[in-house]
Subunit: 693 residues, 2 copies
């Protein structure tokens, strides 16, 4: 590492006011109850866990983050595997729960090569295996005796699972399957933990029995030798190369040349091949499989709030510390103004501050609904339930709710991850020049987060599922067959009042805000239905309308969930009136800022008058920015993201922004060990291998 | 590098249809005259130059790009310096012009550590030196005997140049200046080429004479020894560390501890200190300095089209090759649909295709205006011109035009770079999962481009300059003192017709489209003026309105410039009617898509009826997407970006997307040389130092 700076440099401080004094002052101007709010958001238990794990890992050298952004992929991925190994050792040593392990991964802040083993591989084995297969695969996988991955997408095939090319052909003679890649585009691609780490894979392949295709099914295939870790014969496997982020993960490719696997390697809980009859046995409960994706997407919604919170925490603290220009209307010199006082900065950051709360409450609402339904369905499907007469009906009701949850989770996954991903970039830019430094902590995190906008359903593709569901619901309502769920209700309410028109008072009545969002969704639903069913327009020509519709619907759900949360007894019980008041302002800021940004649709659906929208923008939102501003630092403090996790000079909770940027640049930056030979006529680029700074 | 794949892998091809056949077919379905259009855009001379330089450099090993995305910063920056050196050698050997050198840099596709020497350092020395200083500094710098940088921004000070802390104190006793950094925040920061390369810097510092501050001025300071390349005494200098992009550049920091420099080191063309009287000599022609920033910004506008074109070229070609899902309305199996046929993809990519043309024509218009004015002013300011009586008036008129150009360039710089930067990310996401791979060629380029949104004036900050200019122009028009420039005219036209109202026919009349954009700008200008002058609202409370106003004005300028280009005699002379027709459709797509996206402001300013906007969206834009779609591949071909420059598997002009992704992943990816030991209980992460794939 570079040599330390001379004494005259060490003696330098930032010019006044000091960052730490500034943040102290920011915190003193608000009485938001940071700890109570933090516990409401995360629970005390989770915050205690975070502190406990943090104490354990933050000083271990293997988890050091200082070189993350300077190293190349070859070094980074090895260090990341070392982190993964150490985490696994700690997990065993301290008998960590799943939550503990997940928390530790969050804190170290990068995907490790064990990532997909620890999630998708284990989850798939848990959910889709028979008891015999659990013994054979799951037990060994849980002990890391076999390391696996989940190999679905292919070089030529992403979202469309039915288009996969890899085949699994049943050999009735020797009771095996042959796994084969018939073309280059059949190569598995993007598979996390596959490139260098896994020795097993769950491979999704088109099942062929006696020449007939039964569609994609999951097979466990060993791909590397358990001792030498070399690929097995007729398996070609490797890492797919550098990426925009996620470079500590070995996303991989995988080709098979007629590889035989035994019968037991087809994951057989839901569908299987009968060894004796050589017949396909149909899946029993497809909806439960379907449920996994819903769970994954709901989780993305919940996490999106926390993702955005990292960017907002960094940007809000830094923009409070950063000073730039005098106020233009100031009549005498008063020193430079904190950047966070500028309306152009506020209007970018404070609605994101509100959005991170909205996402959190929405995600929590969804997870609760999902868990309740899963528990109910699991009970109903357990053997013996049929006797009590509750089984089949409950299962059907549950499946209906799951369909609703599925559509909801699709739309919200798209909106939430887009909001979080794009929000991080807004935060980065709001930090001005220093936002571009990796020491800002935003850029690298943004890069790692971006795939979330594409995986588990591309955010644009997903909106079709929402539209399909809403059109179906609208047809049912028009035919008098609406159910009593919320979607039916908002469609019915719109129909009942359509001719009379709406005149929601979004400025004075919070309930009316929610109603206006519902109205807009219903309006767009019936517009789309007219295009499709009456005008018979092609599906393709309506994709843009569907995307708008899905976005509108998901915005409605976020506004509604946030409204439910701020009016809940829980909030009233847990928070003092002032803190509650500020959270309530966040709700209004989120809703009215969204309304104003989407003004054209609120105009054209006649949900709100043009006068109200104009007042929303020029008065209500501007006033809310003024009102939220003094609480901004405490509102991000309440999220309780440890400094070590943020890994940001700009976002330090003590405000020592400039000291930390300088320390890292001068002391942790390996480029400063190089002494260039700067002259073009000298071929060598370095003067000598090592140098003084 | 990894060992080659086995024969059974080598025998694999992508499944049909092959990418090369697809692009052939795409090209055969359009008769857009690619070569003629390319020459219209770039000139034949520039295209010939591109080919000549490309032939010279693309096969030199030093310029190899294959490891760019895998290596860490220490390796990358050394390789980049080697590239910079080699380019300089070639420049001398082949007697390259400035344009040749610039072209070569564009082709190699990354900033080298010479970047700021070759641009800002030399430009500043050329423009701000006396003849004596030219001999002393410029001549040596041009020969790379001294290597320099331009050190303005500081750790605590960016946009606000007046807030800089570094001081230059005149010592009347020994006729020197003392350069000093009084605080840590005074450290120069972000200075390109400073970290490891430069041995000189132009340092912007507050000039103090006899205790009085005369504001920031430029000084040449030697910072490293010309032989050892070690920092001089009382100079602390280094690289500021890893960044979101631009990692081949050594952006640096720099602190001074009372360093003395001679009198001649203050760049003295415009302002100086008189050695004998110890008095400050006022700047003669500040507007010329002012002009440099205008030139830099105009250049950013022009380049933004080309930047966006890279992303659009890649995304359009790939989305033509990529197939996913059957058409939902298809009644029988027809194979998967090219992604580019989906309206949701078209509506993201084709307006960007139109925008890249709009940016190009707008940038070219601005550069022309700037050059004409510079030439006129240079003539007018030459000695002897006063005698002919033309000097002072011309200078004043020129200065007025420069003020207009300055405001225009601020707004357009913001809009253009935001459009290009955000557009690249839209292109990357439109490529789905593979867009995330570095081999897409978009991500790394996007990361390198992003600082353009912040430097040379933060894109949000700049919009205040535009608003200030428009408010001033509106006040003049209201006072009957409008000039005959375009800004005055659109404001006057609006006032004349405001009470009567507008009813522009944007669907049928292209001239009306331009008029509608002008109307909206004028409307927002007078609204803002009312808020400021009548309602006396604070500057800060209006920043969001100003940003909207600047955006609206710049969108008007883009639409107007594009309209002028497509109706120009030049276009009619150079292009056949069909090609011209397609370019004309691009104009309409650009204008109407922008109008529709900003619908709320066109509503509320009554520029266009709600009915017309609704028809714009559902009919006009959708139809234009259909009409432009068949020409998309040829329209990106016309931009003539060489494959070697694109450096993209997805954007290859031959369509061999999957072969190239696979080749790079398996053959150019150093991660595949590692053999992991995957078990957590083994401390070592590697089985052996090298492995077979």
């Amino acid at each position: 590492m570079p040599s330390p700076p001379p004494d005259w440099v060490k003696a330098l401080k930032p010019s006044d006011p000091q960052g730490s004094e500034i943040l102290d002052e920011e915190r003193s101007q608000s009485s938001v109850a940071v700890d109570r709010l933090g516990e409401l958001l995360h629970t005390k238990q989770a915050l205690d866990r975070q502190q406990r794990i943090l104490n354990l890992i933050q000083h271990e050298k293997v988890f050091d983050k200082s070189q993350n952004h300077s190293l190349g992929r070859v070094d980074r991925i090895q260090r990341s595997l070392a982190k993964g190994k150490r985490l696994q050792q700690l997990a065993e040593q301290h008998n960590w729960s799943q939550e503990d392990y997940h928390q530790a991964n969050e804190l170290i802040g990068e995907p490790t090569p064990y990532g997909l083993h620890a999630t998708m591989f284990l989850v798939t084995l848990r959910e889709q295996t028979t008891p015999e297969q659990k013994k054979l695969f799951l037990e060994r996988a849980e002990k890391y005796q076999i390391i696996g991955c989940y190999a679905q997408t292919e070089l030529g095939h992403g979202s469309n699972v039915r288009g996969l090319e890899t085949t699994a052909t049943w050999n009735s003679d020797d009771k095996t399957f042959t796994i084969h890649s018939p073309a280059l585009t059949a190569s598995k691609w993007w598979i996390g933990s596959l490139g260098r780490t896994a020795n097993h894979a769950v491979v999704m392949a088109q099942l062929y029995i006696n020449g007939k295709n039964y569609g994609p099914h999951p097979f466990v295939v060993q791909i590397r030798d358990l001792q030498t870790h070399q690929p097995l014969e007729n398996v070609y496997v490797g890492d797919i190369g550098p990426k925009f982020g996620y470079n500590t993960m070995d996303n991989g490719f995988l080709l098979f040349n007629n590889v035989k696997i035994p019968h037991v390697n087809m994951l057989a809980r839901f569908a299987s091949v009968d060894k004796n009859t050589n017949k396909y046995v149909r899946p029993a409960l497809a909806t439960l499989v379907y449920g996994t994706m819903t769970w994954v997407r709901s989780n993305i919604v919940l996490q999106a709030g926390g993702v955005l919170a990292r960017g907002v925490t960094i940007a809000v603290r830094y923009c409070a510390v950063r000073r730039q220009f005098q106020d233009r209307d100031a009549t005498e010199p008063v020193g430079e103004n904190p950047v966070l006082n500028y309306k152009m900065v506020q209007v970018r950051l404070l609605p994101l501050l509100a959005a991170m709360y909205a996402l959190h409450f929405t995600g929590r609402g969804m997870m609760r609904l999902y868990q309740e339904n899963q528990n109910r369905m699991k009970q109903a499907s357990e053997p013996g339930q049929e006797k009590r007469g509750a089984g089949p009906e409950e299962l059907r009701a549950g499946a209906d709710l799951l369909a609703d949850l599925h559509a909801t989770s699709c739309g919200l996954k798209a909106l939430a991850s887009t909001t979080a991903g794009e929000g991080l970039e807004v935060c980065r830019r709001a930090c001005g020049g220093h936002g571009y430094s990796s020491y800002s902590g935003i850029g690298p995190y943004y890069s790692d987060y971006l795939p979330t906008l594409t995986w588990e359903g591309d955010n644009y593709m997903l909106t079709q599922q929402v539209a399909r569901y809403l059109l179906k619901a609208a047809r049912a309502v028009l035919a008098g067959k609406g159910t009593d769920n919320d979607t039916s209700k908002i469609l019915q309410a719109y129909l009942a009042r359509r001719d009379k028109g709406a005149s929601f008072d979004v400025l004075e009545d919070d309930g009316d805000i929610v109603a206006a969002f519902a109205w807009r969704t219903a309006h767009l639903t019936f517009e789309a239905l007219k295009h499709r069913d009456v005008e018979k327009r092609s599906w393709n020509s309506l994709l843009v309308d569907f995307w708008r519709l899905s976005t509108a619907h998901s915005q409605y759900l976020m506004v509604k969930n946030f409204y439910d949360a701020v009016t809940s007894p829980e909030l009233a019980a847990e928070l003092d009136p002032e803190t509650r008041g500020v959270v309530h302002k966040l709700f209004r800021l989120h809703a009215l800022h969204t309304l104003e940004r989407e003004a054209a649709e609120f105009f054209s659906s006649s949900a709100v008058t043009t006068r109200q929208i104009s007042l929303t923008r020029t008065n209500a939102v501007m006033q809310l920015l003024d009102e939220v501003r003094p609480h901004a630092v405490r509102l991000v403090d309440a999220w309780k993201i440890p400094d070590w996790q943020l890994d940001s000079s700009l976002g330090r909770s003590d405000g020592q922004v400039y000291e930390d940027l300088f320390r890292r640049a001068s002391q942790e930056n390996p480029v400063n060990e190089l002494t260039f030979d700067p002259y073009p006529w000298n071929a060598s680029v370095l003067k000598e291998p090592k140098s003084k700074l």
